[in-house]
């Protein structure tokens, strides 16, 4: 197998543009058969939330996402991999996270995106505080046992 690709990682307050990130990974490439994007968005939880406030650990957030992305690039033959994670106050409908995985073959791109999302969920230093639709702060979003369990799928 060729050298693992160098993932692109950004942690930022600003929104991102999935189409632009696809273009950055694929422009001029004739060897890419599959591009998968995963976009995580803020939900209002049935009208309960006005926003999520994403706190992160600057420095570690980027380093940790990079470690996860490099692990994905070692496991799958990827042509390119981008991960962008936002922080700050995000309203329902706004983007939170983007993964773009490009590969010659569909399974590699799909599995890499799936793997990234599972690990970002439980292993990237971000925390979400709820802001309620009625005003005022809600709780910190609790980690789910099922998210921790999802990591088991990749331990083989």
């Amino acid at each position: 197998m060729a050298e693992p690709c160098q993932p692109r990682v950004r942690v930022q307050a600003e929104d991102f543009d999935a189409a632009l990130e696809i273009e950055r990974l694929t422009a001029g490439r004739r060897d890419i058969g599959a591009v998968v994007t995963f976009t995580g968005r803020c939900r209002d939880e049935g009208g309960r939330l006005a926003a999520l406030e994403l706190e992160h650990y600057p420095g570690m957030a980027e380093a940790q996402i990079r470690r996860i992305a490099e692990e994905a690039a070692r496991r799958w033959a990827l042509s390119g991999l981008s991960v962008i994670h936002r922080f700050g106050r995000l309203a329902p409908g706004e983007n939170i996270v983007l993964v773009v995985a490009a590969s010659a073959h569909r399974r590699a791109a799909l599995e890499a995106a799936d793997f990234l999302m599972d690990y970002l969920k439980s292993c990237a230093p971000f925390w979400k505080k709820e802001h309620l639709a009625g005003g005022g702060e809600g709780d910190w979003v609790a980690a789910k046992a099922e998210d921790e369990a999802a990591l088991e799928r990749w331990r083989k």
Binding site: G40, E55, Y57, G59, M60, A63, Q64, H85, I96, V97, M117, L120, K121, S122, C123, A124, P125, F126, W127, K128, K129, W140, V141, A142, A143, E148
Partner: protein, 83 residues
């Protein structure tokens, strides 16, 4: 030693970071958590269930058995909810 706190650990302790001089008997992450719990009500509330506290040393996850470095940044936080 520089300590940094996030999310409800930060809220309960009431500060984002602090620099502490550790007594010589505090050698591991677990011992650090026990020592911090004695420092006041906020610490006690933040660390009442030490097993749920996640810890990173210099931006890398560590276990509670990990020995503390002579110097560096130790971060305490709840389970992460990225993505």
């Amino acid at each position: 030693m520089k300590l940094v706190y996030f999310a409800w650990v930060r809220e309960r302790i009431g500060k984002e970071s602090e620099t502490v001089a550790l007594p010589p008997e505090v050698g591991t992450v677990a011992e650090l958590l026990s020592w911090l719990r004695q420092r006041g009500e906020g610490y006690a509330a933040a660390l009442e269930q030490p097993q749920v506290i996640r810890v990173a040393i210099d931006h890398e996850h560590v276990t509670h058995e990990t020995r503390l470095p002579a110097d560096g940044e130790v971060a305490l936080f709840p389970p992460m909810t990225g993505g």
